[in-house]
């Protein structure tokens, strides 16, 4: 089975999908490790878990597990449930049925960014100026940094953790051997961070509407400018050849094969959507990319054929989060208004 955007069905009808109105802003979404369920982090303190199969019966609204808003959710790398963080400062493990147990609690802090590493089972959470890594039942603190951690990500092998903050990025070695952290400096506030899928690059989005990329091996860096808004969403393709970025009206990919993207324009393709892309998510295995717009439009793009198709029309509520199922046949999206969407791309 494969996704083929030249199939005329994509232009005639929208693909089958499940859409549920949850009535609370959606901050994040993730599929479980086994791909059978999908979780949405909601602004009323609940995490709504739906079956990935859009025809399967879905449970009703869930009870709040966090006080305030849930700010982040990722697949539990050690099971088939999820891990969530909230503005109540709690990090929770949620079983597939939604039962919550607390990992830890940072009183007065928000847990607003999470990363999970599948192979090592480690979970990283930002809380104030520090990052916390939970692994094998042990919690370790990395920090404090000079300012609040704005985003974080694991290296490919899970041996290091990168944290974005004012003035650049700090990379911590999180293995048993404790090495001094490495600093990658660039002035200003860095608001988003993604480590490339091959481990060679770290990309950040900055307050000044540009993106910054460091080569890990040489510790050299590059800057790409020209965005009309902050780039808050970055996504590397599975083969690490391209970095997708939000904040453009069409899919925008910087090529990292050969000499890299510096001094060259990015690859831009697809139908111009309504508004600017607010979230981008590269497909987990193939050359596709999903993009959500601040207008609510949702598109699927194919970098090989330079085509894109609509998965959902603009409705005035910005898409806030996207997630691919591990097999790449289902896409989850949430928006500011609280609509939970699961699209089935097999057609």
């Amino acid at each position: 089975m494969k996704i083929d955007l030249s199939n005329p069905a994509w232009r005639q009808t929208l693909p089958p999908a499940r859409s549920i109105a949850a009535d609370a802003p959606v901050a994040a979404t993730a599929f479980s490790r086994d791909g059978t369920s999908v979780a949405f982090a909601l602004g009323d303190g609940s995490v709504r878990i739906l079956p990935a199969d859009i025809a399967a019966p879905a449970a009703g609204a869930a009870d709040p597990v966090h006080g305030g808003a849930v700010l982040a959710v990722v697949a539990d790398p050690a099971g088939d449930g999820f891990v969530s963080g909230g503005d109540d400062g709690r990090l929770l493990r949620l079983a597939a049925d939604g039962t919550a147990t607390e990992f830890f609690h940072q009183k007065g802090k928000w847990i607003d960014h999470l990363a999970a590493h599948k192979a090592t089972g480690a979970i990283a959470a930002s809380a104030g100026k520090s990052a916390f890594v939970v692994k094998d039942g042990e919690v370790r603190e990395f920090g404090p940094h000079q300012s609040t951690v704005a985003d974080l990500d694991f290296s490919k092998d899970g041996g290091r953790l990168a944290c974005a903050h004012y003035g650049g990025v700090t990379v911590w070695s999180i293995g048993q051997v404790t090495l001094p952290p490495r600093r990658f400096a660039w002035r200003g506030s860095h608001v988003a961070l993604r480590w490339s899928t091959d481990g060679k690059f770290i990309a950040t989005g900055t307050q000044e509407n540009d993106i910054h990329v460091w080569r890990m091996a040489q510790a050299t860096d590059m800057r790409m400018q020209g965005y009309p808004a902050k780039v808050k969403s970055l996504s590397w393709t599975a083969d690490a050849r391209f970095l997708y970025t939000s904040s453009q009206p069409v899919f925008t990919a910087w090529s990292f094969s050969g000499k890299g993207p510096e001094g060259k324009p990015p690859l831009q393709f697809g139908e111009e959507g309504a508004g600017l892309l607010s979230v981008v998510a590269a497909h987990p295995t193939a050359e596709f990319v999903a993009g959500g717009y601040d207008s609510g439009e949702l598109q699927l793009g194919d970098i090989k054929t330079k085509r894109s198709v609509a998965l959902k029309m603009a409705d005035g509520s910005a898409i806030t989060c996207l997630a691919w199922s591990p097999d790449g046949f289902r896409l989850a999206a949430g928006n500011e208004r609280g609509d939970l969407l699961v699209v089935d791309l097999r057609r």
Binding site: D23, A24, P25, A27, L42, G43, D44, G67, G68, A69, L71, D87, D88, G108, K109, W110, D112, G128, K129, S147, T148, A150, Y166, G167, W186, R187, G188, S189, T206, Q207, E208, A229, K230, D294, S295, G316, S317, A318, E336, G338
Partner: protein, 321 residues
């Protein structure tokens, strides 16, 4: 996406002036409204409330070559986070530390697009300790700058000073910033309507907020280091020359100009041109139309440090037709 912008009130004031008392009153009073309060980590609020967010004042310099473009990144992050909650707010209050420069807080609302889309800076409210203010002036620039930035001033603890002392403090405040509205209070007791929803940064309300804005100048305070200055003219303004002059002025002197605002009679324009700014950052727009009976006049106001009145006046006069 056309959500209403949530008004944000910035609460400043020297250590011990009564900010925390005021916040506690706002949070505990039965007013039927919901306010999120962003407090600095050193503050001690008596009210345990999930709408209180602790912030570390994290100021950073924008990477755009402008040294006074400092912004509170923590505020950007917190406002974004608050908008992810299901419950919405009638307003947000930001308390700064006693020694904070109000510049970065205010500039945050000029700089960040997401913050601008969701919130609007309503007013800067400064609490002044009537007993200690004059002494604080000698201890650094903070107390003075907080008054200079203010739209509303709570002259607090008036019960602890004599009428003569009070008059002296009030005179000093007026010498620094005659445009702020002063409310005399004890134990920070004030009607919320006097400090919230003032629209002090609303370009359309510049006239409304200061009824005597176009009436008379306040150039009598030559001895102050931080003071205000107004320039008026009934000749019309050449827009290109004005842009050029103002741009150069803010580039060169922006660090010393805390607040600026103005209403201009642009040559040939049917409507008033209004602007206001904090340091080098500025917002401007066309305001209400000139009616047949209106006297077409322009007025500029600057509040800042070491302002050279003659130089400013000459500069503005070169922009006139």
């Amino acid at each position: 996406m056309a959500q209403a912008q949530v008004p944000v009130t910035v609460l400043t004031g020297y250590l011990g002036a009564g900010k925390t008392t005021l916040l506690n009153r706002i949070l505990s009073e039965q007013h039927g409204k919901k306010y999120a309060v962003i407090v600095n980590e050193f503050g001690e609020l008596g009210v345990d409330n999930d709408l209180v967010v602790n912030a570390d004042e994290e100021v950073f310099e924008m990477n755009n070559g402008c040294i006074c473009c400092t912004v509170r990144g923590d505020l950007i992050r917190i406002i974004e986070g608050l908008m992810k909650r299901k419950d919405k707010f009638d307003g947000i209050l930001v308390e700064t530390t006693g020694l904070a420069d109000p510049g970065p807080v205010a500039q945050t609302f000029f700089t960040d697009d997401d913050v601008k889309a969701r919130t609007r800076l309503d007013a800067i409210v400064t609490v002044v300790d009537a007993k200690h203010f004059l002494g604080q002036l000698g201890q650094g620039s903070e107390a003075e700058e907080q008054v200079a930035f203010a739209d509303v001033i709570l002259l607090n603890k008036t019960d602890l000073v004599s009428p003569e002392e009070l008059a002296k403090v009030e005179g000093k405040i007026t010498a620094i910033n005659p445009y702020a509205r002063i409310h005399k209070t004890q134990k920070s007791q004030i009607e919320l309507a006097a400090i919230l929803d003032k629209g002090a940064f609303d370009l359309n309300r510049i006239l409304e907020f200061e009824p005597d804005f176009l009436e008379h100048g306040h150039d009598h305070n030559h001895e102050e280091e931080v003071k205000s200055l107004s320039i008026t003219s009934d000749r019309s303004v050449d827009p290109e020359k004005f842009q050029k002059w103002m741009g150069a002025l803010l580039q060169l002197r922006g660090a010393d100009i805390f607040r600026s605002k103005g209403i201009l009679a642009i040559d040939g324009a049917p409507r008033r041109y209004v602007y206001q700014g904090v340091h080098m950052m500025m917002d401007s727009d066309w305001g209400s139309p000139w009616n047949a009976n209106d006297k077409r006049a322009s007025k500029l106001v600057f509040i800042g440090r070491n302002l050279d009145g003659d130089n400013l006046k000459r500069g503005f006069e070169d922009c006139l037709k």
